[in-house]
Amino acid sequence: MRHVPSSACLWILVLAGATTAAQTTLNPDISVIPRFLIVTDDGGRLAEGKREFSQPDFQLQELEFGVQAYLNPYARADVFLSLKGPDIEAASLGLEEAFVTVLRGLPLDLNLRAGKYRVEFGKLNMVHPHAQPFVTQPLVQERFIGTEGLNDLGISASLLLPTGDVYTRFTADLLRGRSVVEAAGIEDTSGAKPLYAVSGRLSSFFSLGDFSDLETGLSWYTGIHDPYHRDRFWYWNIDFKYKYRPSAYTSLVLQGEALLNVRQAMQDRDLSPFLDASGRPDPQDLTTSGLYVYADYQFVKIFSIGSRYDWSEDPYSVENRAWALSAFFGFYPVEETICVRLQYQYTQTSTPTQSRSVNSIGLQFLFSLGPHKAHPF
C-alpha cells in the first residue's frame, strides 16, 4: 500500500475543511416535511342503510421537500416539491411551488414574484397544510378552490401602501388561470386556448397592543371556469385573523373567511344545460358562497385545542350545501419538529334529493426536518 505524505494529508484536510465551510455557507435551506394520516369515517355504507366506521386507513398525505435561499442581494428563490398521497405506492412527485421573489431594487419598493406559487388569495391559501392547525381543509376551500389551494403559474407584484403606521399591502397577480379548472376536474376541450386569471388582495395589519393583533383582507379572483364556453367567474373573499398571545406558552387564534362566487354558466354541476321555456340554451348567472371560522387555543407550550365551523354551497348550485363542525387537538412535544393532530369532524351534505351526514376521525403525524422559513403572522 502506498503511503500518502503527511504534508499531502494536511493539505487534503485543509481543502476538505474549506470545502465543507463553503458548502455550509452557500447551501440553501433544505427541509423535508412528511405528513401521515390514519383516517376512518362512518359514511362508506350509508347507501346500504348502515352506519359503521371503516377500518382505519393509513395514508401519506404529503411529503413536502423545500429548498429556499437567496439568489443574490436582490432576490430569493423558494422551491417546494410535493409527493402527494393518499396511496404511498402510487404517489408521484409534483411541483408544489417554484418561484423567485425580487425583494429589492424595484421602483416604489415593489416586490415581484414569478413562477408557480400559492396565490395570495385569502389567508389560509398561503399557509402550507403542515402549518395549519387542523387535519382537513375547510369545505369552502375544497369546493371552490380545491384541496391543493389556489396554486398556479403567474407573476405577482405587491406594494406597501402609505397608510401611516398601519401595514397595508396590495398584491396583484396575472395567472395562467388553470388552478380552479383543474381542481374542479373540468376537462379543457377548448383547444388549449389560454385562460388567464387575474387576482388581487388588499390586507391590513393592526397591532392592538402588546399581546393582540388583527389582520383583515379582501381578495378577488376572476378567470374562466368553463374553457369550452369561455364562461367567466368572479370570487370575492374577505378574511380576518385575530391573535392573542399573552405569553410564550398560551395563545388564542380566531380566523375566518367568507367567499362569494359569481359565475355565468351554460349548464349545472351535473352538466344539464340551462334552458329557457322554449328549450333554447339560457346561460344563467349563479351566485353561491361559503365560509369557515375557527378558533385554536394553545393552553400550554405543547398542547392546543380548537374547533372549526364550515358552511358552503356548491360553485354551481345553491341547493347543494354542506356544513361541518370539527374539533381538533394538537400535540407539539419538542417545539414544532414533531406534531400530532387529532381531528373529529361531523359533515352534513344536502342536495334537493338527499341529505347525508358523516362522522370522520383523523390522526395526523408529521415531522419537520431542516429549517423551513416561518410563516409570517
Binding site: 393583533d213 389582520e215 410564550a248
Partner: protein, 295 residues
C-alpha cells in the same frame, strides 16, 4: 442673491424638521438603552422584542416590518439569536436600512466544534449569543454603535463619542461596585433554565453546574429533572435561575425536593419592573443573586 418667495420660505419652515433624528430599531431593549446613551436626543429608538419575551422565538409580524421601514439603522445581537430578523428586514422593503450585528468584535463563548445539528437542540452555530450579560462587553458594543450612528449622521460623531465615553466611565464605576459585591461568591454553583448565563458566569466567577433544559430549547424530561435533583443535593446548589419567559414548573419541582431557591432574573431590560435600563438590570441581577446565594 435672489430672494425666495415668502410662501416658499413658509413651506420650507413647516416641512423641514428642526432636528433630523436618526431613526434606530434594535432587536432587544438592552441595545435600545445603549443606543439612547450614545445618541441621546439625536436618535429615535424603538425595539422589537420586549424584555419579558423570549428573543429566540419571535413571530414575524407586519407591525415589526413597519418599524424597520422607516428606520435608518437596525442593531441586532447577531450570532443567530434573531433568526426571525431577516424576514422582517425583507418585509420592510427598506433598501437603505443599515443592519449592524453587534457581535462582530465580541469574544464568543461556547462556539460549537464539529458537526452542528439538532441533536444538540437549538444550538447556535456561531456560539452562545447572550454576550450582553457580561458588562465588560458593553465597551465593544458601544464602539460599534458609535461607528454606525456616525455613518448615518457624520456631523454628530463627536457628540456620540463623548456620550459613549461618559457612559463607559459610569459603567466602569458600576462594574467595580458589582464585582465587589459578587466576586466573593465566585466558585459557587448554580442551576439555570437556559444557557443564557454563560457570559455572566464568566464575568462573576459563579459556576453554572447545569441547565434545566437538557439541550438548548428542549423541554426538561422527568429523568433529566431527577438527575438535576441528585446533582443539587450532591453539590449543595442553592440557587436556580429562571428567565422571566420560561415556565418555573421544573425549577419549582427541583427546589421543593432540594431546598434550593428559584430566582427569576431578567436577561433583558424590562424583564422585571426593576430593570428599567441596562445598569439597573445588572444591578438587580447582582443584588438578587447575592441575596439568594448569601442567604
Amino acid at each position: 442673491m435672489k430672494r425666495l418667495p415668502g410662501i416658499l420660505v413658509l413651506l420650507l419652515a413647516v416641512t423641514t424638521p428642526l432636528s433630523a433624528s436618526t431613526r434606530v430599531v434594535t432587536s432587544i431593549p438592552d441595545l435600545a438603552d445603549l443606543v439612547r446613551q450614545v445618541g441621546k436626543d439625536r436618535v429615535d429608538v424603538e425595539y422589537i422584542v420586549r424584555g419579558d419575551q423570549n428573543p429566540h422565538y419571535v413571530e414575524v409580524k407586519p407591525s415589526y416590518m413597519m418599524k424597520l421601514k422607516s428606520a435608518d439603522v437596525f442593531f441586532i445581537v447577531g450570532m443567530d439569536l434573531e433568526l426571525w430578523s431577516q424576514q422582517l428586514i425583507d418585509g420592510s422593503r427598506n433598501t437603505s436600512l443599515l443592519v449592524v450585528d453587534l457581535s462582530r468584535e465580541i469574544k464568543k463563548l461556547e462556539v460549537p466544534v464539529g458537526t452542528v445539528d439538532a441533536r444538540e437542540g437549538d444550538v447556535h452555530r456561531y456560539g452562545n449569543p447572550h454576550y450582553w450579560l457580561d458588562p465588560r462587553n458593553i465597551r465593544t458594543m458601544l464602539e460599534e454603535i458609535v461607528v454606525a450612528l456616525a455613518r448615518i449622521s457624520p456631523s454628530d460623531e463627536e457628540f456620540f463619542r463623548a456620550n459613549a465615553a461618559a457612559y463607559e466611565r459610569l459603567l466602569d464605576q458600576k462594574i467595580q461596585e458589582w464585582e465587589e459585591q459578587i466576586h466573593p461568591m465566585a466558585g459557587q454553583k448554580i442551576l439555570t433554565f437556559h444557557r443564557s448565563w454563560s457570559y455572566f458566569a464568566a464575568w462573576t466567577g459563579i459556576v453554572v453546574a447545569d441547565q434545566i433544559e437538557p439541550k438548548p430549547g428542549i423541554p426538561p424530561s422527568p429523568s433529566h429533572t431527577a438527575d438535576l435533583i441528585s446533582l443539587v443535593r450532591r453539590t449543595g446548589i442553592k440557587v436556580i435561575i429562571v428567565e422571566p419567559y420560561y415556565d418555573t414548573g421544573a425549577a419549582d419541582q427541583i427546589a421543593r425536593s432540594t431546598g434550593a431557591t428559584v430566582v427569576r432574573l431578567p436577561v433583558s431590560v424590562g424583564g422585571v419592573p426593576e430593570a428599567k435600563d441596562y445598569i439597573s438590570m445588572i444591578s438587580y441581577n447582582v443584588r438578587m443573586l447575592f441575596t439568594a446565594l448569601h442567604g
